[in-house]
Symmetry: C2
Subunit: 198 residues, 2 copies
């Protein structure tokens, strides 16, 4: 069965790819708005794996609305959630039998409720799977350490292809660099530099 996995080049989506690869033909899919070229970081990470890779075009209007929401809120959570849902909808409209993302049990955002998952499946005739949603932080960290080689650092310095990089760029364009610092709290991101041979 063909499965499309939303892929950021970070540790969670990379670990999700490994978990799913025992059962599905996994394609790594990186969503992009066309605002920056940050998706290239995911493409490079994917080149180090045995998985196919492709970009997925998102609707720029969704990025604009998400940035507006972040500016209103003063924090990124709801805007990120809107973009993630949009990316899943786009992915489910592709020709895969199943679609997936790397959301973990302890993630506050993005989160895909049981009802939303069922709705996505029913409307698009696909399975939606979240292979890490039953894994907590400790389990994920242990599996990452055993199975991936990872670079860790603050969000703004790590090369990462999440649509977050594009949202930050759009936010800076609209409201200046200070707005980006205000909206996005400091947090560490990871960038996967390789999969250990298994």
């Amino acid at each position: 069965m063909d499965l499309g996995l939303l892929y950021s080049g970070g540790k969670d989506s990379s670990l999700a790819a490994l978990l799913l690869s025992a059962f599905y033909d996994v394609t790594l899919v990186t969503a992009r708005f066309g605002i920056t070229d940050d998706w290239r970081h995911a493409e490079r990470a994917a080149e180090g794996t045995a998985f196919d890779f492709r970009p997925l075009e998102l609707d720029r209007a969704v990025a604009e609305a998400a940035v507006e929401r972040m500016l209103e809120d003063g924090y990124p959570r709801n805007g990120i959630q809107q973009v993630h849902v949009h990316a899943l909808e786009r992915l489910a409209g592709e020709e895969f039998n199943a679609v997936a993302d790397g959301t973990r049990r302890d993630d506050r955002v993005p989160s895909v409720s049981r009802a939303r998952a069922q709705s996505l499946e029913d409307r698009h005739g696909v399975d939606y799977v979240a292979p890490l949603s039953g894994f907590g932080r400790g389990a994920v960290d242990g599996l990452v350490e055993e199975n991936l080689t990872v670079e860790v650092g603050p969000s703004e310095s790590i090369e990462r292809a999440d649509y977050e990089a594009e949202l930050r760029a759009l936010l800076a364009e609209r409201a200046g660099a200070e707005a980006v610092a205000d909206v996005f709290p400091d947090h560490e991101q990871t960038s996967v530099t390789g999969f250990r041979s298994r």
Copy 2:
């Protein structure tokens, strides 16, 4: 890492074993109260796999309390949940690095909330993982069809080692066969007869 998986011999816990086996040394663990020998069905199913197997002793007082609860409620959900939580606590007290069960996204019971999972992990110093909790019915059915050979039938006729069989026996002892029919609605169970070579 050593992982103990609550194993009933049914399709969900068998599929969970396959998913986890890429990352953990999985031991299939079947909980038993000592009321009946139904756990032997799981032992037989496990013999057809490459996984280690062991039984896990539960506290008979928990079975008694669960059956009381089912009789009061008129349905089995809360009693089953009590027993499942007890089984996870016992399993987490063994020497495994991680413990797991086969709960799916669409299961109403048993269910392990994020808070309960975190509490189990913190108190016992283990990881708790629920590898199927991000998989819906369609995805599970597809993976089972591709990876397991399965026998399907009504709960009362399928050989299955779930503690449900022991709870039914205790319920019959306490309140008669009609009480079992009243409390447990008809539903199909599955019994795994083999793992496809992969």
